[in-house]
Amino acid sequence: MQALDWIIVVVYLAYVVYDGVRRSRDTNAVRGYFLANRSLPWWAVGLSIMATQMSAITLVGTTGQAYADGMRFIQFYFGLPFAMIILCITVVPFFHRADVYTAYEFLEKRFDAKTRALTGFLFLLSRGLSCGVIISAPAVILSIVLGWNLPLTVLAIGLPTVFYTMLGGVQAVTWTDVKQMVLIFVGMTVVVVVIVSQLPAEVGFSGALRIAGAARQLRTIDFSFDLNETYTFWSGLVGGLFLMLSYFGCDQSQVQRYLTAKSIDQGRTSLLMSAVLKIPVQFVILLIGVLVFVFFHFNSSPLIFDPVVEQQVRANPEFHQLEQEYTLTSGKLEQASLMLAREDSSATRNAYRLALEENRQVRRRTVDYLETGAGQAGFNDVNYVFPTFVVRYLPTGIIGLMIAAIFAAAMSSVSSELNALATTSVMDFYRRHFRKEASDRHYLSVARAATAFWGVIACGVAIYATQLGSLIEVVNKFGSFFYGSLLGVFVLAIGIRKATAAGAFFGLLAGMAAVAVASVTTSISFLWYNLVGVATVVAVGWSISSISRSSAPSPEE
């Protein structure tokens, strides 16, 4: 990184803090701090929803995935537009009319305090720890690729985010999300232009697509019905539908976005903005990964993208031999790619595919060697592809822009999470159970303290994440156990008039247990966990409600 890149990153960080802090003027009451007094326009809320969903690992990980595996990841989002329509019809009007601060508060109005406390607690537990993962994932990658100090990288992402979120509340979160999302869009566009301009003249954009197509990197749809596969049409459409319903309908970090909208209609429009834009935006992100794949046909790529592992094995003769073979096969691949770009025929395609397979075989042997001969079990460098490309091959200035964009992706997600964690802590627990009557000023101070508390937890988890390996996995799994089951509780609340508090509470516990059993006894993709959770909660909740039939009021009553 040159001085100009550093200046761009520092200017970005300074501006985002300034922009967030100046919003604190409008947040001198709890309603302003948590709900922006329900004053935000749909486009700002819509961009904030997209920014919250797009973490740095989405930006970095999915480009790497497209590089390695093509564009089939796009199917993951096929259920999203339909989920948004369902949420616009169901939860958006319910939440707005109930005039709640959190999704879990709605559950108390519909069921009881016990259900609200359990769902709120599960949210705090899963999101409180996963917030650290959102910071640690890009921080670990950036610190390795750029040689930065890990705790300092975590603090560079975490501290400014905690600071502006603590002072400015949801106003700061939303308006910085808007700028961060714009920065990410600009960064993506610039990268596409730069990659295409750096390809050989006879290749260009259409040649790049031809090469990627011949490599089967542009396959976007797989109709095979395999419950164990995550990226198929059916997993994305059905499993993805339930995942998106859970995430956008029950996760406070997203619910809080559209609760800040001026009206029900503006809240609906903000969700539909994601429905319209998410798949095209994700398509462009994946296309960047595919273009990087083609770019490396004409520019020497490292045999492995993790610089730390590369450093460890570089002196090994076996690795050296593999590197030489890789250079040789890469040269052949470049020639075959040029032939294909000049003339698209079955002969040039077959020649290209042969050269690619030869090149990939060397790479596969390298991974085998790393896993079995070099003590790197489970080696995977997909997440290092894009940052390595950015740092080694983009021009000065663009590197700074892209590092700022990766920071922006991380910070926009973390700020929403912190804000939602603080809201749930204060509204669902502190004000509900510990201090029912106090001044607005008091709750505002507690809200700021809660934001700082969760920020410290997130940074702490992020710094120690590499040492908490298995714990992080448990946290991620726990989140997936909880998501679908929570959706089931909302289905009971909104869709089944006769559902009772006991049905909802025990249904939720049964749903989580069912997902845990499914994850241990089957190998189905995690996308289907949500469907298992919803179905179990609704079935158990409805059965218990039928038996107990207590006097829970329906939402219309």
């Binding site: 796009i74 976007t220 539909l272």
Partner: protein, 36 residues
């Protein structure tokens, strides 16, 4: 409260978004067929 006219408008919007999503997925399928 939303009027009947509003509700009809929203139904049209939802239908338009659903049709758009189906078209988008179809276009993605055509895209991969063209380049595969």
């Amino acid at each position: 409260m939303s009027t009947e006219r509003d509700q009809k408008n929203w139904k049209r919007i939802y239908l338009a978004v659903a049709v758009y999503a189906v078209l988008l997925i179809t276009l993605l399928g055509i895209f991969s067929l063209v380049f595969d």
